[in-house]
């Protein structure tokens, strides 16, 4: 067992035993859903219906259903795409990066964050499909030998990179999530009382027995999956940023875009994780697993990444001024003081200024403050993408082409509906799969049967420190 300093916060409170963990976390799976679940699920199904309706309308009518014009060719669609992909980053980040950094507080939040990743990427992909206007030719960016000639896809194009990046990210995240789920699915299988449950969980548990030989290999591949997922997370949003940054558009072409988008993605992802978990710990009564220490840590990540994003905003602004390039300078002045000034200042205040409230430790552990802040962060990060995309495009090189963009009701419906898609999947997830990683959480519970001995050990540590000799336990 690795040794923990006595000053560290307990990550599972309430004196839980191993079987308590199993019981608490499998409860939603084994009992019929609560009223709250039904309400949430019905609401998201209705919203999902809106999404289906508006998307179908778009496909039938064509992109004329949207508010795009020949100056602003990308607007809500790509904003929503980047927004959802960004949210999709926290899951793998929590699992992979925090695993590499051995941050144990990840253990009770990684499962739902990974699920969130997968659902968010599905939402993001839906915008890529619908923005094509003709989704039935969506296979065109895939490098297949062209049936009409000898042309291939253009490997110079960041849009093609994006196809590879997003699909790799989606499938690797799915694998990572599933590998993490196997031991927990086995737990559900071994507790199953109904035939159907025994069959389905048994099917997906792949005959897991809990053998140490298997656990050893399991830990090796988890570590390597984390090791490869970390650069993957960074690369995906970097490639998304290159959709913009490889262009010549002032406000888009800036070298800080890759790390800046990654920081923004982590920021927005943690915003969404907070939204979900602050609710989940209340509704599902997971306060002993998602403790104040967890909230505190997440709030700190939000603050740090928010400040990094803010630093990128300021850097861009500064370098535009410093560059001496009129076009760059105008692009940024137009952002801050042009017709879309409100979007810019919403972004600034939500992303840079608001998270500074987390310097206060009271704010970091207050669920109400955290919930409000998480919504603010989500709004701020949506506006960031809107600002980057629309304000850089709407006043382009020829003033005669300058135009304004206003979304149509269809676009707004698709945006709202995408939340329906997201929450629909999320509600199904918490009903059918354990939403906290039981195996990992059990591994950080102090070995309860030895409680007395542990006390004794802890005591001897302190005593010995004074003598200058310590014995590890």
């Amino acid at each position: 067992m690795s040794y923990e300093s006595p000053i560290r916060d307990q990550l599972v409170t309430g004196g839980k035993t191993y079987s308590d963990v199993t019981r608490d976390i499998t409860r939603p799976l084994e009992n019929s859903p609560s009223k709250g679940w039904w309400i949430g699920f019905s609401l998201s199904t209705v919203t999902l219906a809106l999404w289906i309706g508006a998307t179908t309308y778009t496909v039938l009518v064509g992109l004329g259903a949207w508010g795009l014009n020949k100056t602003v060719g990308w607007a809500f669609d790509i904003t929503n795409f980047v927004f959802w992909v960004g949210i999709g980053h926290a899951g793998t980040l929590i699992s992979a990066v925090l695993l590499l950094f051995r941050q144990k507080w990840r253990m009770s939040i990684n499962r739902s964050a990974e699920a969130m990743t997968i659902f968010a990427v599905i939402c993001a992909a839906s915008f890529i499909l619908s923005h094509m206007g003709r989704p039935w030719v969506a296979y065109w960016p895939i490098p297949l030998p062209n049936a009409f000639g000898t042309l291939w896809v253009n490997f110079n194009s960041p849009l093609v990179w994006d196809v590879f990046a997003i699909s790799t990210y989606f499938s690797v995240s799915l694998v990572f999530w599933y590998v993490g789920l196997i031991p927990d699915i086995a737990t559900v299988r071994d507790r199953a009382t109904t035939k159907a449950r025994k069959f389905w969980y048994g099917f997906f548990a792949m005959g897991w027995t809990g053998s140490t030989r298997t656990w050893h290999r399991y830990e090796v591949i988890s570590l390597i999956l984390a090791g490869i997922s970390t650069p993957l997370v960074l690369s995906v949003h970097s490639i998304v940023s290159m959709d913009f940054a490889t262009s010549l558009v002032p406000g888009w072409h800036t070298t800080i875009f890759p790390p800046y988008f990654v920081a923004g993605a982590i920021f927005s992802g943690f915003g969404m994780v907070l939204t979900l978990l602050v609710i989940a710990r209340e509704v599902m009564n997971y306060k002993d697993y998602i403790t104040e220490a967890h909230l505190d840590a997440m709030a700190k990540v939000v603050m740090v990444t928010g400040t990094m994003v803010g630093m990128a905003y300021i850097t861009e602004f500064f370098v535009a001024a410093y560059s001496g390039v009129e076009y760059e300078q105008y692009a940024f002045l137009n952002r801050a003081f042009g017709p879309y000034w409100w979007a810019y200042w919403t972004m600034m205040s939500c992303n840079l200024i608001a998270p500074q409230v987390f310097w206060s430790s009271k704010a970091r552990t207050n669920p109400t403050v955290l919930f409000i802040m998480s919504i603010i962060v989500n709004i701020g990060m949506w506006f960031e993408r809107f600002v980057i995309i629309v304000t850089s495009l709407h006043r382009d090189f020829i003033p005669a082409n300058w135009a304004m963009y206003t979304p149509t009701i269809t676009e707004v419906t698709i945006l709202i509906g995408s939340f329906g898609l997201f929450f629909f999947l999320f509600f199904l997830f918490i009903k059918f799969l354990p939403s906290i990683n039981m195996a990992e959480v059990k591994s950080i519970i102090p070995t309860h049967a030895h409680e007395d001995e542990h006390q004794h050990h802890g005591h001897s540590h302190e005593l010995a420190t004074e003598k200058g000799v310590l014995h590890g336990n």
Binding site: S171, T209, W215
Partner: protein, 179 residues
């Protein structure tokens, strides 16, 4: 080999605490017992080393898969954009190496992840729909089981039982494992 064994006789020590499992396993190994396996609801830190499990070579497999992905990605992109059909895009050379970086990277990761996880399933004989041969339904909940191979240990049953119980076992069972 004279005859192929069809079953194994195992003695199971059932525990409720990973620390006891760790120390008992260590003692048993020192005493020359052959431990078939230890079953636990979560990975016990350091137990694999105590049991003398060699470091898995899955990391080497991962590296090889990464190299496969990398070379396939480079070959394919070079073939498409340089050998098969060159195009002048923005005046860039047809062998535009910097723009190969993103896709090469992604495909290396994709191959590593899928290749390695597939190997993991194969070496552990895990597959969809497999009937699990579990020692106890609670081994995925809150019990830990040390399984000692009786024959290979050439063990005296009484002494072994005593050792397991001295280590804090809440129960000792016998089990025949079909091979």
């Amino acid at each position: 080999m004279a005859t192929k064994e069809t079953s194994k006789q195992l003695i199971l020590g059932v525990y409720d605490n990973p620390d006891k499992v760790y120390s008992t396993t260590k003692k048993l190994i020192k005493g020359g017992y052959k431990i078939e396996d230890v079953y636990s609801p979560f990975a016990i830190h350091g137990l694999d080393r105590v049991m003398g499990i060699k470091r898995s070579r899955l990391s080497i497999a991962a590296f090889l898969f990464a190299m496969t992905g990398l070379s396939l990605a480079v070959t394919f992109q070079v073939y498409v954009s340089y050998i098969d059909w060159q195009m002048n895009i923005g005046g860039k050379p047809s062998l535009h190496i910097p723009t190969y970086i993103p896709i090469t990277f992604e495909l290396s990761i994709l191959f590593t992840a899928f290749g390695m996880v597939t190997c993991f399933f194969i070496v552990n004989k895990l597959f969809w729909g497999k009937n699990a041969d579990i020692m106890d339904p609670r081994v995925t909940d809150d019990l830990f089981i040390i399984a000692v191979d009786v024959k290979a240990s050439k063990a005296d049953m009484g002494a072994l039982n005593q050792k397991l119980i001295d280590g804090g076992a809440i129960e000792v069972r016998e089990r025949i494992k079909e091979l």
